[in-house]
Amino acid sequence: MKYTIDQNGYYGKFGGAFIPELLHPPVEELKEAFYAIKNDEDFKESYLNLLKDYVGRPTPLFYAERLSKKYDAHIYLKREDLNHTGAHKINNTIGQILLAQKMGKKEIIAETGAGQHGVATATVCALMGMECKVFMGEVDIERQAPNVARMKMLGAEVIPAKSGSKTLKDATNEAIRFWINNPSTYYIIGSVVGPHPYPEMVAHFQSIISEEIRTQLFEKTGKVNPDAVIACVGGGSNAAGAFYHFLDEQVDLIIAEAAGHGVETGKSAATSILGTEGVIHGSKSLLMQTEDGQIVEPHSISAGLDYPGIGPLHAHLIETKRAKVFAITDQEAVDAAFDLSRTEGIIPALESAHAFAVLEKISFKNQTIVINLSGRGDKDLSTYMKFL
């Protein structure tokens, strides 16, 4: 495997654990606990049972006939939007809550952007009877109100992050600060970011997506691999999951990132184009920063992609040209969301809509492709309504 993590927690030159000494003990404890369960059959069984009976997996791989016709390709949708709570995020929170339970943890914290990870965390905390605090930027609290209400209904405390741009980056800072002050809590990170072992762990729990894609695609088409897999990337967890079992295969891996108003406008979250090497939230990766190494406040219409960094695995895939990136503007994403709604009867999350907009960018003529439909659009209706 060329794209697995090395013993120091690096994908190529990206990754590692750049954390203050204060966080070393809880991160070390987590690392040991994760490696103890990573290949443990009993753990896997509990994880898969919950995914099946509680989350509703496997999610369907749906042949999108009208969309396929329109783009002259064979387009399959991996329906992560049909998961309980409406996005792929719960694959990760189920895995991590089981781990937290095993570690004897009682209190859970999480950061959230779109609120999907917050909801997925609040959900598994309710399921396991654990206390839950979710940090969320003030701006996001406003633009993702339905998810804030869901978290509260599920019994979680939503703590507004008031620093910086008041979005996902700042919510993550606040969660890390809380963890420093309360090292016995368990921090469920929501994407393939953060210090080692988080990127590897979150990718591990999300890899169920591509595991299922392989089986389902084979059953439907007799093909072992699709020609391409497309996924949106905020931090990169749904993409990591959708790519995972294809990393070493002859499959084009395509990343849709958020261009915001446009890559050159100063209101963008296109990390692969605008980003340079640096350290963010505990790992070395690509991030949007000034000449002076100050982290830049990104912009995307979609709260889940409004992040100035990208997970170290994706930085590595991009740097080695294993993955290809397309930057999708706010408008292109909205157009793609309306298009999918009207051709297939599926309203996607704004994040996922970015992946569909790639269809307008390159031709997949006669190819078999899988688009990871990472979440559903209920949470984004107030944004979509402005375009009706």
Binding site: P20, E21, L22, H24, R177, I180, N181, G278, D292, Q294
Partner: protein, 261 residues
């Protein structure tokens, strides 16, 4: 010899080190602040290089960092300010900051400029000892700007040994598992931790930081260790406009009277 080592030779006890945010409250305050601290009996300064996302800091240093950045503070401006300090002062200077701005600047160039401008040491809290050994030690070995690592009550013995091996000026002991800026008194458990740390065999001086905000907590640092580092409390006093002479006097437990006009 490094000015930090010289300091501890000259003054092995009750060392008072103060943290300031470079470029705060105004861009060009750095030089005057350092000189005034020295005039008032401060032994060493830590100059914080502001970062947009200071993960280990509480609100006080977060906000001073933001103000400094809004003032236009950069690493190059800081080097010029340090050169200006060095025209008048030989106070030991430690630069403290998060890794990203340094990495972006280029670690090697940064170390070179530290050496040239008269910086005596660095604290980069998010370079863990593991990352240091893996990727950065070789570079640091070429320059006379040693890195000081943080040690907390939870640092394991094995790690502490590693950290000791890589340290050449002093050990920065963090009083508690917290972000910066706490203002309470030390708890009984913390005192037990301090006692434990004090009993460790350490060849280098130990300074305690985090949560040292008044004469009582500073005295505790001096009783258990070789001195204390004051950060957020000083930043707060700057914000309030308290004269430096008064602040230092209070910390050191010296009664000072500001002359009233």
């Amino acid at each position: 010899m490094n000015r930090i080592n010289q300091l501890f030779q000259r003054k092995p006890k009750d060392v008072c080190s103060i943290f300031i945010t470079a470029g705060f409250p105004n861009l060009n305050d750095t030089v005057q602040t350092v000189l005034e601290l020295e005039r008032n009996g401060v032994d060493m300064v830590e100059i914080g290089m502001p970062f947009s996302d200071p993960l280990a800091d509480g609100e006080t240093i977060q906000s001073s960092s933001l103000v400094a950045l809004e003032n236009g503070m950069t690493i190059d401006i800081l080097f010029r300010q340090i050169l200006a300090i060095r025209e008048q002062s030989q106070i030991p200077i430690v630069l403290m900051g998060y890794f990203n701005p340094v990495f972006k600047y280029g670690l090697e160039l940064f170390l070179k400029k530290c050496e040239l401008s008269g910086v005596d040491g660095l604290i980069i809290p998010d370079i863990s000892v593991e990352e240091y050994e893996l990727s950065y030690k070789n570079l640091f070995d070429n320059y006379q700007v040693p890195l000081t690592f943080l040690v907390t009550p939870k640092t394991s013995t094995a790690r502490f040994e590693k950290i000791k091996n890589h340290s050449s000026t002093f050990i920065y002991y963090v009083s508690s598992a917290s972000t910066t800026g706490k203002t309470g008194e030390f708890s009984a458990e913390q005192l037990i931790d301090f006692e434990q740390m004090k009993s460790e065999e350490i060849k280098l001086p130990v300074l305690m930081g985090f949560g040292i905000h008044d004469s009582k907590t500073f005295k505790t640092a001096c009783n258990y260790f070789d001195g204390g580092i004051i950060g957020s409390a000083f930043i707060r006093s700057r914000k309030e406009g308290k004269p430096i002479v008064d602040f230092v006097g209070e910390i050191k437990g010296i009664r000072t009277e500001t002359v009233l006009r």
